[in-house]
């Protein structure tokens, strides 16, 4: 499809506007879209992101034991409802208290990731460090299997077995 403005270049920006029930479509090339001042905006603010994510979750009590109304954090008294309003949690224990509701949100905010990978405070106990190292190795193993890199996978499997002894 050609740009309806210049009729020369390929239309790559497709804009659908609905005003008073009337639907209009505009197809423009990048250059004309810019001239018309149509910029593609894809960024949401953190608050918008959080509230849209929480709002899109099913509030079925059976799926989520910790619905917005019923659960509050035993340590700080925060509720999920408060979190949707403020976009900040009440205390570190909220991550446990609201885990079921927060987990999908955390996954979406972090591009599908759900566990830490990176710096660990040096004071962390040896047991915890070992557990984290194992988690990291298992993640690497999964990626290696996905990439069909079986040599690396075997190596990682050996390391995991060794650590678990």
């Amino acid at each position: 499809m050609y740009c309806q403005n210049c009729q020369k270049k390929e239309a790559t920006i497709h804009l659908t506007e609905i005003t008073d029930g009337l639907r209009t479509e505009t197809h423009l090339c990048e250059h004309c879209a810019q001239e018309e001042g149509i910029a593609v905006k894809s960024q949401l603010s953190i608050n918008e992101l959080l509230s849209s994510l929480l709002a899109s979750q099913p509030s079925d009590d059976e799926t989520f034991g910790d619905t917005k109304q019923s659960i509050s954090c035993p340590h700080c008294g925060s509720t999920l409802e408060q979190f949707t309003k403020d976009a900040v949690l009440g205390c570190p224990y909220d991550y446990e208290a609201f885990q079921k509701s927060l987990a999908p949100l955390i996954r979406k905010a972090h591009n599908g990731k759900e566990s830490h990978c990176g710096k660990v405070p040096s004071k962390t106990s040896e047991g915890t460090k070992k557990q984290m190292e194992l988690m990291k190795l298992r993640r690497k193993l999964e990626t290696a299997v996905q990439n069909e890199d079986y040599e690396l996978a075997a190596e990682l499997r050996d390391k995991i077995n060794q650590q678990e002894k």
Binding site: L50, V88, A109
Partner: protein
Amino acid sequence: MKLTDISANINEWFDGSGPLADIVISSRIRLARNIAGHKFLSRCSVAEKSEILNKLKDTLMSLELGDKVFYLSVDKTSLLGRHFLVERHLISRHHAFGKGPRGAVIAQREFFTAMINEEDHLRIQVLKGGCQLSQCYEQINRIDDMIEQKVDYAFSPRYGYLTACPTNLGTGIRVSVMLHLPALKMTGQIDKFLNATRDMGLAVRGLFGEGSEAAGDFYQISNQVTLGVSESDIISLFENAIIPEIVEYENAARNRLLSKEPEVLDDKISRAMALLRNAHLISSQEALFLLSHLRMGINMRERMGASTPAIEKLSGLSDAGRGTDKPETLSITTINRLFMLTQPAHLQLNYGKQLGPERRDALRAEIIRSALHG
């Protein structure tokens, strides 16, 4: 230390030095941390906030940072002073205009700031000129280790460093580079670049001014994902993929302007020069917009050996305010100084009193006129 001790000069990270500094103005790394055993700030009483503030202030002031540090009680700093700290990129807008007991520990050379009781109990940042992310991380990691010897951070094996907002969870790291991209803007490619950056999951904001409007063609790019990726992976993505690509595109756009449209380039530079050297009232937005073209002209001469009639005329201007040891050609430092020192709070702090918008516009125009003498 008083704010006026630093307000008359430019920050070290903005003096034009550092790798790729013509395009990558500065590199910044920030870490978000909270102290174990305390609630996050939104649920803290004033007394608990004060307790956290005192504990962290004492810890930070006792560190060996290789520079003099000073402490500022942000809630007791004047409104003008807080605006100044934001313009200077020493504290965030959120910290400057927030609520409750809060403070900042600042290294005199401005490469390091700790914000206490911002959104998290502690946010530390290291800033350096040019493309120096690895160096920033090395330094901030060392400082973080030192702090961690004295306080216990809230940390979970699953989620890493626990932060008030789940979007900072994990490493708590925010890696940012500030970029000057006038040629991409001039050649109409900036939106394409911005969209590609956003598609990669990065945040783009303006560097100066309020909101997200990128005044003066300055953009700040930062990571958004902080969980499930290590600090070194994020930094290497910036250093090995994102930054080289952007620098290549901006340089290509500059080369294209020079070879294909020299009259467009010269027109922009000459008009900017004419306005800046003759205006008697100039808003900060207009100044940023015009200075951006001068900055590009000087950099193209210094880094690419570009020589056009407008660029030659531009480099012949000299900084009259420098007195006897004035440089022979207009330096990038002079232009960078003008960007920073003509910001509203800088103007007023250096003038010694509050000024209305019109008086500021007049003073700004005067400073610029005298700097671009020749």
